[in-house]
């Protein structure tokens, strides 16, 4: 049986004693997509990833890999999955090429292919010049890339990356992002978990937001955005207006305009929550210009993932506490 989903979970549940870490999770991850699993610390991301990787038995529910249950397929699914744990270790007394060679051996890759494979992977993760160095000597970012390379030795169709960017400096983070994009363009299904949201919003084409073991929202990013806006308490959109006129008077003026819910000063600009369609927005601009305010920029602040995330999770917490 073949399914359009690379990975699917059905009522996936994991309990640790009384604590339910993952609660009836239903994920559907289309083949070839870059899927982001987002949630605050302790939401159940890692538990989910570990179950997907076959390291943890679900208490209930099942995981389908290309439509086939991983429970019944024995160890075959291991050949199609690459997994990079959030806290990973490296064998420090090994050379970089030996490290990859070791994992290639674990996947029964014939010796004739291992050499070229190792070189190719080191090229891919940009570690070719470190080939003969000890793993010990690598920086954290390099180790992370090496670990990613290890998850690729058997050319898996699905990649599970648990917090691949954690602990990396901004530059290494950008490099990691580029690398993941490249993998996506190679047609692999990549599942990334993270709590660094800005990353995922640029990288992923669809996301699932997980909170207290439950999937709060899931789908393509643009769809999530609308969903979250409906879900959140805030209505309307955020407009950011920059002027060279005096800010306080402008702010006062703006707050009296129709459809403006509130106006606050933020980093030398005024941000207003505006409840109106495109025409109303244009009218608002025309009105303030007519009032003699010198506008240098006027635009909608697209509510990014972080914003959505905050709304969704804060909302839930509030409900939970009530």
């Amino acid at each position: 049986m073949n399914s359009m989903y690379a990975l699917e979970t059905k009522n996936l549940t994991r309990r640790y004693g009384k604590l339910t870490a993952v609660d009836n999770l239903n994920l559907q991850i289309p083949a070839g997509s870059l899927f982001g699993l987002i949630g605050p610390n302790g939401a159940g991301k890692t538990t989910t990833m570990r179950m997907l990787a076959g390291l943890l038995d679900p208490s209930e529910g099942e995981i389908l890999l290309h439509g086939e249950s991983t429970r019944s397929s024995g160890s075959r699914f291991r050949h199609e999955l690459g997994y990079m744990p959030d806290f990973f270790g490296v064998y420090e007394d090994m050379l970089v090429w030996e490290y990859l060679d070791f994992f290639a051996r674990c996947y029964n890759i014939p010796s004739a292919q291992r050499d070229t494979l190792t070189s190719e992977l080191l090229d891919l993760v940009d570690l070719a010049d470190k080939r003969d160095e000890y793993v010990e000597a690598l920086s954290r970012g390099m180790r992370q890339r090496l670990c990613l390379a290890h998850a690729l030795v058997h050319d898996p169709k699905v990649l599970l990356l648990d917090e691949p960017a954690s602990g990396l400096d901004p530059r290494a983070r950008v490099e990691m992002r580029e690398l993941l994009r490249e993998l996506g363009s190679m047609g692999k299904t990549v599942i990334v978990s993270s709590h660094i949201l800005a990353e995922l919003s640029e990288l992923c084409d669809s996301v699932g937001i997980i909170e207290r073991g439950q999937l709060v929202a899931s789908g393509p990013i643009n769809q999530i955005t609308t969903q979250a806006q409906l879900h959140g308490q805030k209505q309307g959109k955020l407009l950011r207006i920059q002027t060279i006129s005096e800010i306080s008077s402008t702010q006062e003026l703006l707050s009296q305009m129709p459809n403006v819910m509130n106006a606050i000063e933020n980093e030398g600009a005024i941000e207003i929550e505006f409840d109106g369609d495109a025409e109303a927005t244009a009218q608002l601009l025309a009105q303030i210009v007519n009032q003699g305010i010198l506008v240098t920029s006027f635009g909608e602040v697209s509510s990014d993932l972080e914003d959505i995330f905050m709304r969704v999770t804060v909302g839930n917490q509030a409900e939970g506490e009530l």
Binding site: R50, Y91, Y107
Partner: protein
């Protein structure tokens, strides 16, 4: 295809050997051990020659005592090194956070276990093999047969196998290298000390010579019972060990000299050690699994059953087929130590 996969060397062995044998460390350890063995052997040789000043010691006796001392030292090396090499095998991977990465590969937990065991034991074997030339010096003096050399080597290997398996079992069970190391050394200590304590307790509480079979647990008894020379008709053992070797080997019969040859201890020790190895191996094989630890599938259950049945069967057969060769110590009567009667010494007038 599957056969081809099987024929590839175990990745764990390749990895472990690569990192263990790299650089000077492994060879320095080997050199130090050989130097220490040679030095100790030389000391024992000088000691034997010293006592030769006061009595005639035939060459074979010197050879035998050198041989036994060397074996004892090698046994101590094994008992000290094997837990250190294996107690971190699984827990070390867990602590280094590499274990999960291994488990997500198709490499089966059993192969991980084997790889760890074999790579640790191969290092021990290397030490043993390297010491063989040293052992061959005893042939200058005579008194040791090549068969004894082979047998001693096998006994050392069997002991290393058990201790290695126990180390890995502790490592898989306790999950922390520190704890696993302590527990493995405790196990070694228990092997050495528990039979002796049992002998003392039974001997004192029952006022009997305790059953010598208890000593089969002790690795040194195992070793000596398999490698001591056959007692000569006069019942004379070795000069340096002065009969102590025979006591350790559980050869009380030699001391009694009643011509009733008991079944050598190693007949008991060998099945005991192999059985324990098998048991600890099977437990460890369950413990290294990431999920569904105690669910045993039909195939591996069947294989385990066949192996256990084979081992048990051959032990029973071995004992049955040789039962006429050995006498039994009739327990109650002969082992009874008569209570000491207080003697009343009459005063003797010295004058």
């Amino acid at each position: 295809m599957i056969l081809k996969e099987r024929l590839q060397p175990n990745p764990i062995i390749v990895k472990e050997l690569r990192s263990r044998m790299r650089g000077a460390r492994a060879f320095i350890i080997l050199t130090i051990m050989l130097l220490a063995l040679a030095g100790a052997l030389y000391g024992i040789y000088r000691l034997t020659m010293l006592s030769a000043r006061y009595q005639t010691i035939p060459g074979p006796y010197i050879g035998q005592s050198l041989f036994q001392s060397l074996l004892m030292l090698e046994m101590l090396v094994i008992c000290m090194l094997t837990p250190a090499l294996t107690a971190g095998a699984i827990s070390g991977e867990r602590e280094k956070l590499t274990y999960e990465m291994l488990l997500t590969t198709p490499l089966s937990p059993t192969r991980i276990l084997w790889g760890k065991l074999i790579s640790a034991l191969s290092y021990i074997l290397l030490l043993l093999v390297a010491a063989i030339p040293l052992a061959s010096i005893v042939f200058i003096f005579g008194g040791v047969t090549p068969m004894q050399l082979v047998r001693s080597f096998l006994v050392l290997t069997v002991v290393a196998l058990l201790l290695g398996t126990v180390g890995i079992f502790m490592s898989a069970w306790l999950g922390r290298s520190g704890r696993a190391t302590v527990m493995s050394y405790l196990f070694v200590l228990l092997l050495f000390v528990s039979p002796i304590i049992a002998l003392i307790v039974i001997g004192v509480s029952r006022q009997q010579i305790p059953p010598y079979e208890l000593l089969m647990i002790n690795p040194l008894s195992f070793l000596f019972s398999a490698t001591l020379p056959a007692p000569s008709s006069s019942g004379v053992g070795m000069r340096v060990f002065n009969g102590l070797g025979f006591v350790i080997a559980g050869r009380f019969d030699v001391m009694e000299g009643d011509g009733n040859i008991l079944r050598p201890l190693y007949h008991y020790s060998l099945p005991l050690y192999l059985g324990l190895t098998l048991a600890f191996y099977m437990l460890a094989a369950q413990l290294v699994k990431p999920t569904r630890r105690w669910r045993i599938d039909l195939r591996s259950g069947l294989i385990a059953f066949v192996i256990v049945a084979l081992v048990a069967g051959s032990v029973v057969y071995g004992f049955y087929s040789t039962k006429d060769q050995y006498g039994y110590w009739d327990a109650e009567e002969e082992r009874f130590i008569p209570p000491v009667q207080p003697e009343i010494i009459e005063a003797v007038d010295l004058e």
